[in-house]
């Protein structure tokens, strides 16, 4: 088991100025890691909330510091914004006696496949996968963002297991569009798992509207309503639809964060 009493962990997330749901999973995972007593210090930092990326290193005492991005994919934030704001110049940056170790984002970890399968099974208990189409939903068309590639990669991994009759990636803003789910799905049961780091406007409102299980989005101010998940299963367009919350709320993400720390150590030996 990982034990790092002389090290600090910083989990970095995007955060939001509109609702607390964006940062909630990052704080949840941090609280779980604090509970396990693995690190001497555990901190969170955000782009849109505080502590900010620019504040957090001032709050750390230990000289051995791991930074794990709680992001779904490599992209603008993990490659440009986080290194710039923390002053990092590569996987290992030294500031005097301090070593800051920049780990891979959680979304690129191999365990993501198991977490997606777990989430899919949890939202549709007892529903036979051999009669189910599973959609992994990404955003698509984001600035320098590889989240669509990450969703495709997970679909390939899940499909290779042969558990589900049909596994597809789909997107909010690029083809194949999640709004076409009923024609894309070959099976009578449909499970939809948003491939996002947190619940929020996209999972509470945008995707439900595109699926047809909610009316037009009333806007960001009302985001924070998790009631959409209580309506499962939805019977519409001749299918039985199960809609899951974002994958980043899966408690197993705490283990993935720790795995990314261990992975950094094993690759830097």
């Amino acid at each position: 088991m990982l034990s790092k009493p002389d090290s600090a962990l910083i989990i970095v997330g995007h955060g939001s100025t509109l609702n607390p749901d964006s940062s909630a999973p990052t704080f949840d995972h941090a609280e779980e890691i604090v509970r396990r007593g693995i690190f001497g210090e555990v901190h969170c930092a955000f782009w849109k909330e505080e502590p900010s990326f620019r504040q957090v290193l001032h709050c750390v005492e230990r000289n051995d510091v791991y930074v794990v991005p709680n992001f779904i994919s490599e992209g603008y934030f993990t490659r440009t914004v986080i290194p710039r704001e923390l002053g990092l110049d590569g996987p290992l940056t030294r500031f005097g006696a301090r070593a800051v170790k920049y780990c891979e984002p959680v979304g690129s970890h191999g365990k993501m496949t198991d977490l997606l399968l777990h989430r899919a099974r949890s939202v549709a208990p007892g529903v036979p996968p051999e009669q189910t189409t599973l959609f992994i939903v990404g955003h698509g068309t984001n600035l320098n963002d590889n989240s669509a590639l990450a969703a495709k990669r997970e679909v390939e991994r899940i499909a290779a297991l042969g558990l589900y009759a049909d596994v597809q990636s789909s997107y909010m803003e690029e083809a194949p569009l999640i709004s076409d789910w009923a024609t894309l799905a070959s099976q009578p049961n449909v499970v939809v798992v948003p491939f996002f780091i947190a619940d929020g406007l996209h999972s509470y409102e945008d995707i439900p509207v595109l699926l047809g299980i909610a009316s037009e989005s009333p806007g960001a101010a009302s985001a924070g309503q998790a009631s959409i998940f209580a309506g499962n299963p939805y019977s519409l367009r001749g299918k039985t639809l199960f809609y899951a919350s974002s994958i980043g709320t899966e408690p197993g993400f705490a283990d993935v964060i720790l795995d990314q720390v261990a992975a950094f150590d094993s690759t830097s030996r």
Binding site: T17, E31, E41, H58, C59, E61
Partner: protein
Amino acid sequence: MNRELLKSFSNWLGDGPRIVGQVRISRAAESWELRHNDDSGELTTYDRWQDARALANLTEDGAFRPIKTIRDLRRGWRLLLASVEDVVRALDYFYPAMLGLWNADSRGELVVTDLRETLARQTGMYRVTQKITDPQAQQLCASHCSLCMKTMLWKIDPAQPITSLAPEKHQRASGDSLPLLCREACNFLIGHARTVVKKAEKEALDAASPQTSS
């Protein structure tokens, strides 16, 4: 837990009471009690440091508080905690990074970054903020930073202080109150700077090509 911070904070806290932002910290039998500084009488009791997150997240009216140092902490609660360590963890939710920056400042290790340096670093959609003029920046600080409880330590550039705010805004709190420090323009201000620049650019464009009316 940052052990240096814990030690410094324990020394500062003593037997209380002390104030951090709008939170009052005092002794209550074997516990530490945190409550809104303006509260008294009947309050709902919580007893986990983790409860501070939900207490800090929303205003009285249920609106999200992305900037915790705005003076809009909800009232009506008391948080009873067993140790100073738990008090530090709770305060990290009420006032993120503020104890850490205070500790760094006390040790002479806090680095302050002036606005022009912050803007020069921006990329993507925020690169345009580099075009903000000095008077626009002064006005921006007057309209937004005045709402925040933090003490502003940075300037527009080394030669140009922020003159659009009351002098007290640049003076660290002392006595029973822990100073809340702003070491660099926050991303909320950078977002507003973008709005200012974009608006000015649009106005300049509109002025250069006025629509002709028939």
